[in-house]
Amino acid sequence: MTETNIIEMTGVEKRFGTFTAVSDLSLSLREGEFFSLLGPSGCGKTTALRMIAGFQEPTDGRVTIDGQDMQGIAANKRPTNMVFQSYAIFPHLDVGDNVAYGLRNRGLKKAEIENRVSEALEMVELGGLQRRRANELSGGQRQRVALARALVMRPKVLLLDEPLSALDKKLREQMQFEMRRLQRNLGITFVMVTHDQYEAMTMSDRIGVMFDGKLVQVDSPETLYAKPCNREVASFIGEMNFLPAQVSARQENSLTVTTTCFENLKIETNPNVRQGYGDILVGIRPEQIEIAAKQPDGYDATFRGDVVNVAFYGENVHYHVRVEGLDRPVSASVPNYFHMVDFREGDSVWLGVQSASVIDLGENEPS
C-alpha cells in the first residue's frame, strides 16, 4: 500500500445553527485503503461523509482530495462517488440506465457506455439484468446496482453511507465479504460510514471511531480492540469488563496494578491512553477470561465468584459471575466446545486471566 494520502481533512467543523454536528475533525486517508467511520447513530458520521462528497460545505476547516482543495468545488465536480443509505436507485430507469447515468453525463460513446455498464454489472454479479426495472429488484440487488452505478465512474474515492444497514443478517454478511473483495481487486479507496462495529471490523483496514461529533481514535481493527483509547471506545467495540485499579509501581512500559480480583499484577501500558499519576481503569475482554470449577493452573491471576446468569449464544456461552467487592458481575465468554453448558446459576466458580489480557485504560475518570 502506498503512503500517499488521498483525502486530508484538517480541522473540519460543521455547525447547523448553534448545534455542532462535527467538530475539529482531522483525518488522513491513505490511497487504496478501506476506511470506516464508526460511531453511534447521530454522532456526525453522515455529515462528515457528505462534506467529503460536497453535499455539505464545512463551516470551518479544509478538505483536500488527491492534493486538491475542495473548497468551492461542487459535488458534481468531485472525484468521489457515493452509495447512498437508501441506495437512491432512479425509479424511472432500468438497471442498465441507472448504471449508465453518470457515464452519459461524461458524453462517452454509446458502445463504450454499454461495455462499461455490463462490466460493472458483472462485477457486482448482476450480469444480464440490464433491462430489469428498479421496482423489480430485491434489497440486495438494489444495493448492488447502487454499488455498480458508483464504481462504473471509476472514482478516486468511493463513499458508502451505511450501505448494508437495510439488508438482513445473512445477506449483510455475504455483502461484507464481497465488498471487501471488490475493494481489494479495484484498489479504490473506500470510506464507509457504519454504526455496526462488526461490519467495521470485518471490512476495514482502519477504523475511525466518532462520538458526539468528535473523532476519538483512528486505528486498525486489532489495535482498536486490544488498545482502545478510553472507556467509551472500549465498550462501544466489543464487550469489556471494567475494573478500577490502584497503581503500585510504574515502569517504562508497564504498570503494577491491584484490583478487587488480583494483586500486584504487572501489565503493559497502553500507548493510546493519556498517562496520569493516580488510579486507573483496567479492562478485560470476556473471551479472555477462563472459567473453571477448580482453581485453574497457568494463569497470572485467579479469583472466585458465583454464577448469576448464563446466556447461551450457540457458538459460545456467556457467564455472568458475581465477584465479592464488585458492583457488576464479571462477564466471561467461553467457546461452545462440546455442546455442553458447564455451569449453572448459583454455581461457585474460579476465574483466571493472563496479565497480557488486562488492558490499561488510563486514568479512572468518573463517568
Binding site: 462528497a53 453535499f55 461542487a74 459535488a75 458534481n76 465536480k77 468521489t80 462517488n81 457515493m82 447512498f84 443509505q85 437508501s86 437512491a88 432512479f90 425509479p91 424511472h92 430507469l93 440506465d97 449508465a100 447515468y101 453518470g102 452519459r104 453525463n105 461524461r106 452505478r149 458508483a150 465512474m153
Partner: protein
C-alpha cells in the same frame, strides 16, 4: 336482503355504484346517442334512425372550424397554465417554508364564483378597464388598447387563470414525492442542476404534468361561459354552437351530434397526448 352467496354479496356491494354510474353517465350518454340519430322536424322529433346529422356536421365548415379552434384554444390554455404552474409548484414543494399557507393562497380564486372572476377579467381588460386606464394614466399609450378583450387572447388568459390551481396541485404532489436523495445521486454522478432537472425531476413529475394537462384540457374544450363572455366573435368555441342548437336554433338532434363529436375529438386528442407524453418520458435516460 339475504346475502347467501359471494356473488350476491358482490352484486349488492356494487349496486350503489352501478346505479350511480347507470343513471348519471350511461343513461344520459345513451339518450344523447339516440337524439343524434333522430331528426328535428320544426316542432317535433322524427325518430327514424338516420346519420344525416353526422353528415351535416362533417360537411359544415363552421363545425370543423369551431372544433379545431376549441382544441387549439384548450391546448393553448393547457400549455400556458402548466408552464406557469410548474415553477410555482416547484417553489412550493422544494423551497417554501410554509407549504400549507402557500397552497391555501393558491386556492383563493375559488373562494369567489367563476362568473365573478370572468367579469373581473372583463373589468381589467375592457376598453375603459383597469389596465387601459392605468396605461393611459401613466402616459404609456394614447388611446385604449382594443386587442385585450373579445378575442382568443382574452379566453386563454381568463381560462389559464381559472385553471391554475388544478395544474399546480397535481404537479406539486408529484414533485413533493421525489426522494431528495435521487437528486443528490444525480449530482453525485456529475449532473448539473439543469441536467438533474431534465433527467430526474422532469421524468418523475411527468405523471403529474400529464394529469394536470388532462384536468385542464378536457373541460376547457367544452367551455362555453368564458368564450361567450370574453371571447367576442373571434373567440367562440364549439360549446357555443352546441348551446345554440339546444337553444335558439332548437335543433336538439344536431346539438347531440355535435356534443358526441366533441367528446370523441377530446378523447382522441387526450389519448394521443398521453401516449406520446409517456413515450417521450421513456426516452429520457
Amino acid at each position: 336482503m339475504n346475502l347467501r352467496s359471494e356473488g350476491a354479496k358482490g352484486v349488492a356491494l356494487s349496486a350503489p355504484a352501478t346505479v350511480y354510474v347507470g343513471f348519471l353517465v350511461a343513461a344520459p350518454l345513451l339518450i344523447l346517442v339516440a337524439y343524434s340519430m333522430w331528426t328535428q322536424t320544426y316542432v317535433d322529433i322524427d325518430r327514424t334512425p338516420t346519420l344525416a346529422n353526422y353528415r351535416e356536421a362533417f360537411t359544415d365548415p363552421l363545425v370543423r372550424h369551431l372544433m379545431i379552434r376549441s382544441i387549439l384554444i384548450a391546448a393553448a390554455v393547457t400549455v400556458v397554465t402548466v408552464a406557469l404552474a410548474y415553477p410555482i409548484a416547484y417553489f412550493i414543494a422544494i423551497r417554501a417554508q410554509k407549504k400549507t399557507l402557500w397552497l391555501l393562497l393558491i386556492t383563493i380564486p375559488f373562494w369567489s364564483s367563476y362568473l365573478l372572476r370572468v367579469f373581473a377579467w372583463k373589468l381589467i381588460l375592457g376598453f375603459n378597464g383597469v389596465l387601459n386606464s392605468a396605461l393611459l394614466a401613466l402616459g404609456l399609450i394614447d388611446e385604449p388598447l382594443t386587442f385585450l378583450l373579445y378575442n382568443e387572447f382574452a379566453v386563454v388568459l381568463t381560462l389559464a387563470h381559472a385553471w391554475a390551481p388544478f395544474a399546480i396541485l397535481p404537479i406539486f404532489v408529484s414533485i413533493q414525492k421525489i426522494d431528495p436523495s435521487l437528486l443528490e445521486a444525480a449530482t453525485d454522478l456529475g449532473s448539473s442542476r439543469i441536467e438533474s432537472f431534465l433527467r430526474v425531476t422532469l421524468p418523475l413529475t411527468l405523471p403529474g404534468i400529464i394529469a394536470a394537462c388532462l384536468v385542464i384540457f378536457i373541460p376547457t374544450v367544452g367551455d362555453y361561459v368564458t368564450p361567450s363572455l370574453v371571447g367576442g366573435s373571434d373567440g367562440k368555441m364549439i360549446a357555443n354552437l352546441i348551446q345554440v342548437q339546444f337553444g335558439a336554433a332548437n335543433n336538439w338532434p344536431l346539438g347531440a351530434t355535435l356534443s358526441l363529436l366533441a367528446m370523441l375529438s377530446v378523447g382522441f386528442v387526450a389519448i394521443v397526448f398521453v401516449l406520446s407524453a409517456n413515450g417521450f418520458g421513456r426516452r429520457i435516460r
